[in-house]
């Protein structure tokens, strides 16, 4: 019986060898695949408990990991959470991440390829790995001023340094507290998540970049830019009499201070019939090209995500005329309208907006710096100069007088958009200042005042003014 017993021994040997070989394969061939699976709670928990680096505004952390005595060891904590929520996003166990927490996750956790060296040194020295820091371009004073000026109304404010494209303020209201989602008490986290999603005022939607609204009269800047680019000047006279829309019975009226006025005057009083007629004569192609050169149809600020602003396709002459005054289906984000002012103020050059100035590793070595770069030449430098003068008139003597600041040249444009008859109209104001170099867009979705009284100049302009003053 010994021969078959030897056979059995060989079979047993093969079985054990197969176990060991399979285990080796598991270690070599499968380990990283398994660790990268999204369902892997061990990895997710370990990542969640990492000592992530801070997100900074100036030298102040707006998001940081604080050591706690529980399974995850580090609690993500947001100082002034509501104010900075559209920038930081949240870092939660159940609902993943958003904002910079998501887009800069590998840098914050120290897992990015650029931090390989410091990670290696940490590993060899046995130090606990720490994440790198992300420095934002946000100016704390401007951010706070914008938040305070919005005073809890639904709306958004975006401020851009138009010479670089750096975002100085990005506020959305109402906002939410990311701490409530980041909490390690998962029941509380779930409760907060459900409450936020059920809230009719949509506190988690980022009104500054991810939502688009009819821009109303602020779109006249683009119509004006197209007119200037087509050879008109600030002093060119346009017909401002009541304008009956082609192929329609609707008549656009408005008291613009005469039936033939200069382009400057038309912008100053936000003359609807004048700009509607001008838009119709320029044609939808001209308007669309001009809008796209200002950034319509493109997405910006990938780090927090944005929606592309829209100038509709295939318009008839009546729709073109309505679009020229920011009605019909034209829609823009507050970020986009700030970029319009920014390009005009920056001699026609639209700078690519950005939110992160640099990334450092855990030892404060700079691993990445953002270099400003131009997105497009939105309009010629001479047209830009003309339009600047026109916008200064709007603030100095027109609808935007609420944004006047002594000692600062401010150019702006108001907007009031009637999206439907039931809802209060949207109030817009987009502006730039020569010192500091900032372009601001203030948007109030629901001004909470009587509809007849609403005007971008009255509700939105003071907000822009407050932001510019905060930056002085």
């Amino acid at each position: 019986m010994n021969r078959p017993i030897r056979g059995v021994a060989i079979a047993a040997m093969v079985m054990f060898a197969a176990l060991l070989a399979n285990l080796t394969y598991l270690s070599i061939g499968q380990q990283s695949y398994l660790n990268d699976r999204a369902e892997n709670r061990r990895v997710a928990d370990a990542r969640f408990g990492q000592d992530r680096g801070p997100i900074l505004v100036g030298n102040t952390a707006i998001a940081e990991s604080k050591p706690v005595k529980d399974r995850y060891k580090f609690q993500r904590s947001y100082a002034n959470g509501e104010l900075y929520a559209p920038i930081t996003g949240f870092y939660s166990y159940l609902y993943r991440t958003s904002g910079l927490e998501q887009s800069y996750s590998s840098e914050l956790s120290g897992q990015d390829a650029s931090q390989f060296l410091s990670r290696l040194v940490n590993m060899l020295s046995g130090a606990v790995p720490r994440g790198g820091a992300v420095e934002t371009t946000i100016n704390a004073k401007a951010q706070q001023a914008a938040w305070k000026a919005l005073a809890g109304r639904k709306g958004a404010v975006v401020a851009i340094d138009y010479t670089t494209g750096a975002i100085l303020a990005l506020v959305t209201s109402p906002s939410y507290d990311p701490n409530k989602l980041a909490t390690h008490d998962l029941k509380d986290s779930t409760k907060a998540w459900n409450a936020l999603n059920d809230d009719a005022s949509k506190p988690m939607s980022n009104r500054a970049t991810r939502e688009i609204y009819p821009p109303g009269s602020t779109f006249k800047l683009i119509t004006a830019a197209a007119a200037l680019e087509s050879g008109m000047t600030a002093d060119t006279k346009i017909d401002a009499s009541a304008y009956k829309l082609p192929t329609s019975t609707k008549v656009i009226t408005g008291n613009c201070g005469g039936s033939s006025i200069t382009l400057t005057q038309a912008l100053k009083v936000s003359c609807n019939p004048g700009f509607a007629r001008l838009g119709a004569s320029l044609g939808q192609e001209e308007l669309r090209n001009q809008a796209e050169r200002f950034g319509f149809g493109s997405k910006f600020l990938d780090e927090i995500g944005s929606s592309a602003s829209r100038f509709p396709d295939e318009l008839d002459p009546a729709q073109t005329a309505m679009s020229a005054i920011g009605e019909y289906e034209v829609a823009a984000s507050p970020l986009q309208m700030a970029m319009v002012s920014a390009a005009i103020a920056n001699r026609g050059v639209l700078m690519e907006p950005y939110l992160v100035s640099q990334v450092t590793d855990s030892d404060l070595n700079v691993v990445r710096t953002t270099t400003p770069r131009a997105h497009s030449q939105a309009l010629s430098a001479s047209s830009a100069a003309e339009l600047q003068k026109m916008m200064v008139q709007v603030v100095a003597n027109g609808t935007g007088h609420n944004a006047q600041i002594s000692g600062v040249t401010v150019g702006g444009k108001t907007g009031t958009a009637q999206s439907d008859r039931i809802r209060n109209p949207y109030a817009w104001f987009t502006a730039w200042a020569d010192n500091p170099h900032v372009a601001v867009c203030a948007f109030v979705e629901d001004a909470q005042i009587d509809a007849s009284e609403i005007a971008g100049g009255r509700v939105a302009a003071p907000i822009a003014k407050a932001v510019i003053e905060a930056l002085r």
Partner: protein
Amino acid sequence: MAEVVSYRKRRGVEAFMLVFAVALGWGGYVIIHLNQDAELPKQWPWALGILFGMALVLHLVVRWRTPYADPLILPLVMLLNGLGLAMIHRLDLGTDPVMHSAELQLGWMVVAVIACCAVLIWLRDYRILHRYTYLMFLAGMALLMLPLVPGLGLEKNGARIWIHLGSYSFQPAELAKLVLAVAFASYLVEKRDVLALAGVKFVGLDLPRARDLGPILVMWLASLAVLVFQKDLGTSLLFFGLFVMMLYVATEKPSWVILGLGLFISGAVGAYFLFGHVQTRVSGWLTPFSNYDLNYQVINGQFGIAWGGLFGTGWGLGRPNLTPLAKTDFISAAIGEELGITGLAAVIILYGFIVARGLRAALGSRDPFGKLLAAGLAFVFAIQVFAIIGGVTRLLPLTGLTTPFMSQGGSSLVANWVMIGLLLLITHQVRQPSVEPVADPVASLAGEATQLIPVGSVRPSVAEDETGPLPIFADAPTGPIPAVSPDAPTGPIPAVSPDALTGPVPSIHSDDPTEFVPTVDPNTEATTAITPDDGGPR
């Protein structure tokens, strides 16, 4: 006179290794607490005392009853059991509130060790078991089918392999594997010649006669019944594999293996198409991520092992509780997670050593029953470890077998320890110095029928000295087994052992018993050669 090889007892080596095994198991327990709380567990003297006490008792019983037993087996089992206890304790700590299943398991270990000692003390000669072939067979089958009895059987985690008695639940298959291994061994020793010699040639294969197919078909049907009604792949595989392997060893005919494999494959394929739970297991094996929720357990075991990596997270520092049933089926995944792939490989190799020692005893044994039983017991461990660890690591579809000595569960622990007791008995007989009577015509029990033959004057007066190296007949039972009478065989063919135990050469035991040369095999541990001067009645 022939020279006889004698093994050294090596009880001192065993004692030293037992201390080492206890230290490792207990050390694991302490490290878990140091890693988690940075302080010693409060009960550490108790744990050390109980483990050490059990090792001491085992050592003394072995020294007393089976002084020639293989010195490696006991420390291996002690080590695996200690590691298992530590891991169960660690998994207890991972639940909230903290559970106390490790304490219960320690209690079962005490019971199991007592059972093992009882085997060593009262059984003394495993060949007694040869008398109860059909009783054992019936008992084994009954145990196997017990969970199907309405009101008694209990379905847990999809498999109906439990019975409950009062508040206790129990897996009878664990006992059945022990009983059936004995039953198979004694049945096949009787029938091996019939099964081996008579047959028909078919396409170059030496196939057994149709009427001899009975037993294998019975076992096949029993295995299928387990698969179908108890929904337990593992138990079914274990028993059928064990039977086929023992059939092969007994008859030396590879055709049995081919036949068995064919039956097994057809059964398995049929089961795959008929039963949803088999399809689930197969999809969990091949494409686990196709259904995350369904294959949650397999996937999480894999996640654990991957998370542990080469050297593990460290004991107490991983998250093995995330895997369901981590204390039972998936304890190897927990080991892989916290002790790393290195640690799990070491555990597998420890099992490999046990199997190797068992097979070595089978090779060395001088009677066919002992050979078959030792090989069968060793193979039971091999199949179990292969099936369950292979299932956890996705080498095979997952089957619900226990990880011997490690996974939580009293019935499994007791059964495995009793099997170790039997192995110790066999190795003791193997390694004990002895002299064969020259040209004893029937030196094997193989030809003996199950009916008892009146003892009497034929019984050789063998000195019953278990402790000394006094040579006795290899086949002369020290117990009440009747001595072999040359005219006893009832089978159609005189029982001639193919191993030529009856050859004219004195059967000298060596590690390589196929070469029956009357010299000392240089490969053995033999250090002394004695010349017997009173080798029994001759």
